[in-house]
């Protein structure tokens, strides 16, 4: 069991995270502090939820780049709608309305893909541009900073608080609960429901899945609705953190999220990917971002390092396969007695 774990992708990311943290901590001891940890978690939460939105699509064998536009459009539209009605309440109603809008936007992706049998990437390329354009043209082109009363203090809604002599008050943000709940539900969905297994089956071999009788269109549509809902959720959360609603939220960050999902062990060609791996993938990219700041390495290097890690993780399955081919096949059958 232990040996099996040490061969997983997750184990490797964990090792890299530990080594990286140790090195950064030695250079700048400030890295080893509760406040750094809490900051890291808060910053990661939004991206973990975005990565969860993308994960089932990647397992299904598609690459979507429109989820960030759906996030921006849903959050911004919800905000402008509620502000216009003089809403003063908390974040809950934001989540509800945004998730409905996001779910519908995801449904549109799913319907176009299944009706016209188009590649996921092509459709998402179109809907990404479309949603950003739609938001800017019909809803508003500037960031809106008028936050309803119930949302004002949300960015500092901590479960536990620490006071750091340098950076001031910080804490474990309440959104960690969302991440845990969504993560557990996502894991259960992928592992223990027929929907989840069908997603893996389609990602593994689409033709055979269809021949087996799996309703490929239905699964695809559900996956995109989930993507839309979770993207919208992340959009609202990020806007609440940054205390403004931005029509071009997340723009240009879709490939960073995809990178984290891939580092987390999901295969671009589909069929592979886990919740734990995805969480670790996001954490690793966030730690790389932060550690380079703390070690005073220029920000330009961040992208370079993430690129480097990405090369390692995309090359890994190929290296493993090569090794397996050299050593002969790993698994053998035996004819049992008689």
């Amino acid at each position: 069991m232990l040996k099996k774990f040490t061969q997983t992708n997750e184990f490797l990311i964990l090792i890299i995270i530990i080594v990286l943290s140790t090195v950064v901590g030695l250079i700048n001891p400030k890295f080893f502090s509760i406040s750094t940890l809490f900051d890291l978690i808060r910053a990661s939460n939004v991206y973990i939820i975005l990565a969860f939105a993308l994960l089932p699509v990647v397992i299904l064998g598609g690459i979507d780049i429109s989820f960030i536009a759906i996030a921006a459009m849903s959050a911004y539209a919800t905000h402008m709608f509620l502000i216009a009605r003089g809403y003063t309440g908390g974040i809950l109603l934001y989540f509800v309305i945004a998730c409905i809008i996001g779910g519908l936007a995801g449904l549109l992706n799913g319907l176009i893909i299944t009706k016209f049998r188009l590649p996921v990437f092509d459709v998402s390329l179109a809907t990404q541009t479309m949603w950003y354009g739609f938001t800017l043209f019909f809803i508003g082109a500037t960031s809106n900073f008028s936050i309803p009363k119930g949302l004002v203090g949300y960015y500092a809604n901590y479960l536990a608080k620490v006071t750091d002599p340098v950076t001031g008050d910080t804490g474990l943000h309440v959104s960690i609960i969302f991440v845990v709940v969504i993560g557990v539900l996502m894991h259960l969905m992928l592992k223990y429901t027929m929907l989840g297994r069908n997603i893996y089956a389609i990602g593994g071999n689409k033709d055979v899945a269809i021949r087996t009788g799996i309703n490929h269109n239905k699964v695809t549509i559900v996956v995109f609705v989930i993507m839309g809902i979770l993207s919208a959720f992340a959009g609202v959360l990020q806007s609440a953190f940054s205390r403004n609603f931005n029509p071009t939220l997340f723009i240009g960050q879709n490939l960073d999220v995809l990178a984290a999902v891939i580092i987390g062990g999901a295969a671009l060609k589909g069929g592979r990917g886990t919740v734990i791996g995805t969480v670790l993938g996001v954490l690793l990219t966030q730690i790389i971002n932060r550690s380079l700041v703390l070690t005073q390495i220029p920000a330009e290097w961040q992208k370079f390092f993430i690129g480097l890690v990405l090369i390692i993780f995309t090359a890994l399955p190929a290296l493993r396969q090569k090794r397996a081919a050299r050593l002969g096949l790993a698994v053998k059958s035996e004819v049992s007695g008689s």
Partner: protein, 507 residues
Amino acid sequence: MDEILLRVENITKRFGGVVALDDVSFTVNKGECVTLVGENGSGKSTMIKIISGIYSPDSGSLFINNKQYTKISPIESLNEGIQVIYQDFSSFPNLSVAENIAINNLVISNTRFVDWKHIKSLAQEGLNKVKVHIPLDALVGDLSAADRQIIAIAKALLADAKLIIMDEPTTTLTRKEVKQLFKVINDVNAQGISTIFVSHKLAEIREIGQRTIIFRNGQKVVDLPSKDLDIKTIEYHMTGHSIDISNLKYSEPKLEEIVLSVEGFTRANAFTDVSFQLHRNEVLGVTGLLGSGRTELALALFGQHPADSGTIILEKKKIKIKSIFDATSNGIGFVPEDRLKEGLFLPQSINNNISAKIIDSLKNKFNFIDGKKKSELSAEWIRRLKVKTPSDELPASSLSGGNQQRLVLAKWLAFNPKVLILNSPTVGVDVGSKTEIHDLIRELASTGMGVILMSDDIPELMHTCNRILMMRKGRIVGDYLREKVDEEELNRQLIADTDPVRVGQEG
């Protein structure tokens, strides 16, 4: 005992003006293994598709368990217990063995949640039926083709199959794996489940089938107990004419001229200390079972998986082959086994395919491709290799299998190689086209190149080669002149001493 499971009665099926099946009738008894043979286009696959409900017949009917169907839907066919195992084994490489075996049952049962204990017990039940042990947690992508096949059978049995139809199941299996598969099939038959076994390998038909049905041009021409048929008879009925090999015109090697000399060629886990010489105008056969290092040797000579050590001397010049580029720039051509995947640009035109390898030489003085030169070149090769096509502007995918193989040859011949390596050039090609390709290979050698033919088809080697090398466990263990050996001796050597340990796993 001879209870009838499936009766096909007077089935006719037309596609446009083409009659694919012409008034075909036959029966399959319970627990019987029937082998179905015929050339490409003889109607075998159409028949399978009618039984499994993918096509509906124009006239005639099917009786399954005495129930009459004038046409059957795919679902009805499945419900009657008819399971087809396609050549891709219908497996999910990313899922575990357990899930692969159980997935049909899960999809049919329409549950929302997955009980892994249930999946494992279902899968174990399936594997028990085939009496093979495969770890349930292993990923199917890590398994050999043979094991994937067995998983497909277990899956069919678990779905209460009454009749399992296998479409060329032995194409990618080693000799030992074929034996294991046959044992599984025998076990399945003993449980009262019938099998239809479609094959191109005539030698296997007598080994596995109780009865052999031969299709030719949409008609059933033979339906006899397999023990009453020999290979020559089967060939005769498949092609409609006997293949005369008594006056084949073999090329005459110039023994004083060595084209290619290989010494001490070694690649870890593939082949060891391989040395041989190839003469001008010679067709040199290399045979051995899957896993003997035969294919690996071919790929090493072509630079796809280069050798670790050893020397190659080509026309008295020592050369190094570390990549495909090294091989082609030295004049070594390669016709791959999988012509569709590796040999052709299927959506591209026939003339583009022919000129692909030598496109540089078609440049005019402005460095543009000279269209006139290109069409002259393609016209010449289409004529010389008798490729049947109305126009060379059509895509390569429009050609039939035999003609596609000719096109691959044309591509390499236009390049005028010094040495041409052919890796199992007639796998999946029917008997008629096979003979024509053999004629072509002998002709090619007579034009002055050296030809190396990798194949495990002994008659093929006897019909084309001047000399045959036998490989076993990565080493050359025999060197035979064609005149001084017969098929039986070669067959005996081929399967002699087949140690169960695969070459890839030694050391």
